[in-house]
């Protein structure tokens, strides 16, 4: 297991120069740091929050249920103090410290918006859902074919080798399904389906004649060891940090690799306010950092800069940069900086019960469910909306917390609850949101965060296309559950507010033309070629798949390009 010591503050000299600066240490920033340091660059990795050391700082990772003060329930105090976090599962007494506090980091909801952020070393790589799906070529082509927004400047073939590259290192387990809509990757052996899932998947395959597929999820949980990582122990406590390195996180994966090169300097508590831009060379020369502990401003110089500060924060840094030249900031001449906010809309689907299988069970807590890749608007089908959605879900036996209202108190109820209950399954749909120009973020004139920085104002909503899609998202789940043999099938729609998918995308999109996009096909800012944005901000459309694997691939691809360009002295 690896240890990492922080430099003390006085070892950081102002205007110290690096080959590269990476802003943000989450999934994308961790990859940028690994790739750039491994290629020999001296890298400064800046993180706005505190350090979280692998294993040592996973304080609740092995806490048994009886030591969890409220056994996972929320206190009135937590609910009062966290008006935003309380909107979803993220408000949890076991890892509350890893979600940004809305008092310190407020934002303004011009329209309802939920923004769940991880402000610490590792960012949300510690907390993510780990579902890792490639995009299909159809996803990259959709904007051009349908005349939506602008065309992606890249296609699947540009990204495919980088998907392979990051999958091998990150460790993605999954089954090869040979589906055009969900390309196979370099997978570790898949986690198996349980008895009910296996039979249900077979019924789906037969009924829909391969037009719909239930497959095992492809999580960034490893089923075989990788260097420094023991592998998944089937505890399903991933979001508390994994002492076994069972899932991909900055701490378990990219940071140790970057540290091992001897080329990395990690500086926590470093909020990047803006880039320092030289209009003569049309390059950024460095970054202006606000020390989150001392409130002092420090500057660092570098030849190249990777913005991986999370979708909206990377864009906010651009919006604060070079405002003397462009009032809206670096990249705003496109008219698209801060526009085209996307997410995945969800929180609806269906569930049902399976009779029988009382003599079947499973051992271990599998940290993934099933995935149902998109099947709508394919092969010539035209619904009353474009694009599509996928599902995540699975089947299991209920436990002691099930309702046994038919049983009386006393020994009968106790005995019943010590045995597993009936099988049931549920699926939640995740749908694509189109990139709408008028879904925006901008700076507030009045609200500031704890450090005096302008808060963001969110103005985004789903529109007719998504609302129409939601009918299918619910109805198709119910139909498939019935086909698969489930009874008492119920649909549900728990309501969606923008951002709840925690898949924020867009606001500094890639494109083919500086007049309509912020970044080119190599994630370079058109007006500052030594600045790369490789997190969710770069996305030109959103597809229906979980986006993090694509950020990893785009980051590794951009890092290789950047180092090549540096060597050619083009940057």
């Amino acid at each position: 297991m690896y240890k990492f010591k922080n430099k003390s503050k006085n070892q950081f000299m102002a205007n110290q120069s690096y080959d590269a600066i990476v802003v943000g240490s989450g999934i994308s920033g961790g990859w940028a740091a690994k790739e750039l340091t491994e290629k020999g660059l001296k890298v400064l990795l800046l993180e706005r929050g505190p350090n979280v050391e692998h294993i040592k700082d996973y304080k609740t990772a092995t806490t048994p249920p009886w030591e969890v003060p409220h056994r996972g329930r929320r206190t009135q105090e937590q609910l009062e103090n966290h008006p935003n976090l309380r909107r979803d599962y993220v408000l949890n007494e076991l890892n509350l410290d890893w979600w940004a506090h809305e008092d310190d980091s407020p934002y303004v909801e011009e329209k309802p918006f939920t923004w769940f952020r991880g402000y610490q070393v590792g960012g949300r790589s510690l907390l993510w859902g780990r579902q890792s799906y490639r995009w299909a070529n159809l996803d990259f082509e959709a904007n051009a074919k349908e005349g939506i927004a602008v065309d992606w400047p890249i296609r699947y073939d540009d990204v495919a080798p980088w998907y392979s590259y990051v999958e091998k290192f990150a460790g993605i387990s999954g089954s090869k399904d040979n589906l055009a809509i969900l390309p196979d990757g370099e997978f570790q052996p898949p986690m198996p389906m349980n008895c009910v899932e296996k039979d249900a998947a077979a019924r789906i395959k037969e009924h829909y004649k391969d037009a719909r597929t239930w497959t095992i999820g492809r999580p960034a949980n490893i089923t075989q060891p990788l260097p420094g990582r023991v592998g998944c122990q089937y505890r399903n406590k991933c979001s508390l940090g994994c002492p076994f390195g069972g899932y991909f996180s900055t701490q378990a994966s990219t940071l140790p690799a970057a540290v091992a090169t001897g080329n990395l300097t990690l500086r926590p508590w470093s909020i990047v306010r803006r880039l320092i831009y030289d209009k003569d060379t049309q390059k950024a020369t460095g970054v202006e950092v606000l020390d989150a502990e001392t409130n002092q401003t420090v500057e660092y110089d570098a030849k190249i800069i990777f913005l991986c500060a999370s979708t909206f924060n990377s864009t906010a840094i651009l919006m604060r940069t070079a405002t003397d030249i462009w009032p809206g900031g670096l990249g705003s001449s496109s008219g698209e900086l801060g526009h085209n906010v996307m997410d995945h809309h969800f929180r609806l689907g269906a569930n049902g019960q399976m009779d029988g299988y009382e003599d079947k069970y499973y051992f271990g807590r599998r940290p993934t469910g099933l995935y149902i890749p998109r099947f709508r608007n394919l092969n010539g089908e035209k619904r009353d909306y474009i694009r599509g959605f996928g599902y995540q879900g699975g089947a299991s036996r209920s436990g002691w917390n099930r309702d046994v209202a038919e049983l009386n108190f006393g020994a009968p109820m106790k005995e019943a609850l010590t045995e597993p209950g009936p099988w049931s399954a549920g699926f939640t749909a995740f749908g694509e949101i189109l990139p709408y120009h008028d879904n925006t973020i901008k700076f507030s004139d009045t609200v500031k965060d704890k450090w005096g920085m302008e808060a963001l104002v969110m103005n985004a909503e789903i529109k007719e296309n998504e609302i129409n899609m939601r009918k299918d998202m619910m109805a198709d789940a119910a139909e498939m559950l019935e086909v698969a043999g489930f009874k008492n099938v119920n649909t549900y729609d728990a309501g969606y507010t923008f951002g709840q998918g925690i898949h924020e995308m867009g606001t500094a999109r890639m494109g083919r033309d500086p007049k309509t996009s912020v970044l080119n096909g190599n994630n370079q800012v058109w007006e500052a070629k030594n600045v790369f944005v490789t997190d969710g901000a770069c996305m030109t459309s959103g597809a229906a798949q979980n986006p993090s694997l694509t950020y990893m691939a785009l980051t590794a691809r951009a890092a290789a390009f950047a180092v090549d360009e540096l060597k050619k002295q083009n940057l």
Partner: protein, 166 residues
């Protein structure tokens, strides 16, 4: 001395919990209710897990004011009505009488969903939660496996095998 006088006259005013001031006697009362819902069998019952103190902590920390009032009013009502229908204090009654009474109340909840009956469902909910997530409940009544180390997707289940605690 009011209490002493009352006892002497055989006309004790019912003890009532005020606000959220649970006395040790109130916690003992909750322990007995919890142990009626989840009794000792071949594994310990809810009282052995300190269910009374757990319920009080959860009511104070996780319930809103309205839920707290429902819980306390309901608990006071159980104490009072048990005595008027059974003629003895709940604490002095047999476990059969306790069980019959609480099951009656739970039936009432299942059919009427009345305000007073809501409390019995709260007590049941906290008892089940507190018991099965306790060390005794998780490791004795259920099967607690901190580090499974593997995933077997499809294994036989024999009636009587324990469910997993987590």
């Amino acid at each position: 001395m009011v209490g002493a006088t009352a006892i002497l006259t055989g006309c004790a005013p019912e003890h009532q919990i005020e606000g959220l001031n649970f006395s040790p006697e109130d916690i003992a009362f909750l322990d007995e209710i919890g142990d009626t819902i989840i009794p000792e069998t071949d594994t310990p019952g809810a009282k052995a897990t300190g269910i009374g103190a757990f319920m009080v902590m959860m009511v104070k920390d996780t319930y809103d004011a309205e839920q707290q009032k429902t819980f306390v009013d309901g608990l006071n009502a159980i104490r009072k009505e048990f005595k008027s229908s059974n003629g003895s204090d709940f604490m002095d009654a047999t476990s059969e009488d306790r069980l019959t009474y609480l099951n009656g109340m739970y039936d009432q909840f299942k059919t009427s969903k009345g305000e007073e009956a809501k409390a019995i469902n709260m007590i049941k909910d906290l008892t089940v939660l507190g018991y099965f997530s306790s060390e005794i409940g998780a490791t004795q009544a259920l099967s607690y496996i901190e580090v499974p180390g593997k995933y077997d997707a499809c294994i036989p289940y024999n009636k009587g095998d324990k469910a997993y605690a987590i």
